[in-house]
Symmetry: C2
Subunit: 210 residues, 2 copies
Amino acid sequence: MTRIIDISWPISSTMTSYKNNKPVIFTQTRTIETGGMRETNIIINTHTGTHVDAPSHKLTAGKTIDQLPLESLIGPAVVIDLSHINEAITEQDLQPHTINAGEIVLLKTKNSQFAPDAPFVVDFVYLAASGVAFLIKLNVKAVGIDYLGIERNSPNHETHTMLLAQEMPIIEGLRLDHVTAGRYECICLPIPVIGLEAAPARAILKDFSK
Amino acid sequence: MTRIIDISWPISSTMTSYKNNKPVIFTQTRTIETGGMRETNIIINTHTGTHVDAPSHKLTAGKTIDQLPLESLIGPAVVIDLSHINEAITEQDLQPHTINAGEIVLLKTKNSQFAPDAPFVVDFVYLAASGVAFLIKLNVKAVGIDYLGIERNSPNHETHTMLLAQEMPIIEGLRLDHVTAGRYECICLPIPVIGLEAAPARAILKDFSK
């Protein structure tokens, strides 16, 4: 049987949040004791944990999350191990790897080694503009990274803008420490919020190698 | 190429909510004009739209959504057309259909014909206790239905209790009007909230027949 690997960030009130300012709040609204069943209300920012950015995150007339074809988040994927990098992932870092057109590219970095409820790390490893340009040239389908952002120190959000202008979804907040570099099927399913620029998602890999 | 069919309920502030009392609220917290990017806060009940009920929804010591193996929500599925039924789905209604052990059983009813933002319909088609007992006897993996509840007029929540006692996840709030009865692969991925009794999910079918 195919092995399923969960690569999603656990969602809780103590989880890491972007710049520590987007806390998740769970409020129990019904209990088994008094209401016969448990129910909970959730307050959550669209950019919490594992989530997908749609073009309208950055582009005024860009597509919203419900307008993105699900096919762009499902399919052959390659997990690339870049755990040796301390700062930015550049074209030079990606060049030695085999990356095919149409693949979902998942960047595994030392970010995955941070605990899921550690305070936000400002100097996380990110994807530099040269790395983005390289992936766009290769015509990949989507790009994912293992932190709550894919770029930093970038006032114009170049990385986001370049990817989203191509309508390539960005998957942020993956957890890849337990995943070996290699080829998988990726299935990343954001909740179907209408008209929003992003959505929390559950992402898995199917491992056909075993 | 395999066709992907989205069977999820669109999430919006105008969508149908259970007994009309669990509205979703979207609040834009950042704009492109003043903040360079769009961001949104979401208030959402765990039992909104397409969602998965875990055992702890009804059972005091039951597993929470993060403790459910994802394998129980992924795999061979059968969509059964029960659109002729007006009230309850009983054992008798299910008997004529071929249902295999280990399958995810998705019940397509006239509920799927309600608009996704129609007021809550009290007399939706539901799964009666005899139908549940039959599915449990067949040893199916999970059960899904196309409304925000799977039972009604049931003070002891028999349907929920019987399924959840078997650790069979319940998928509520599916949209199946556009799906032909038959066999598919189902992939239903709830967001990974820790310690909660349910979670919003995105659910798809893969159609291998084309």
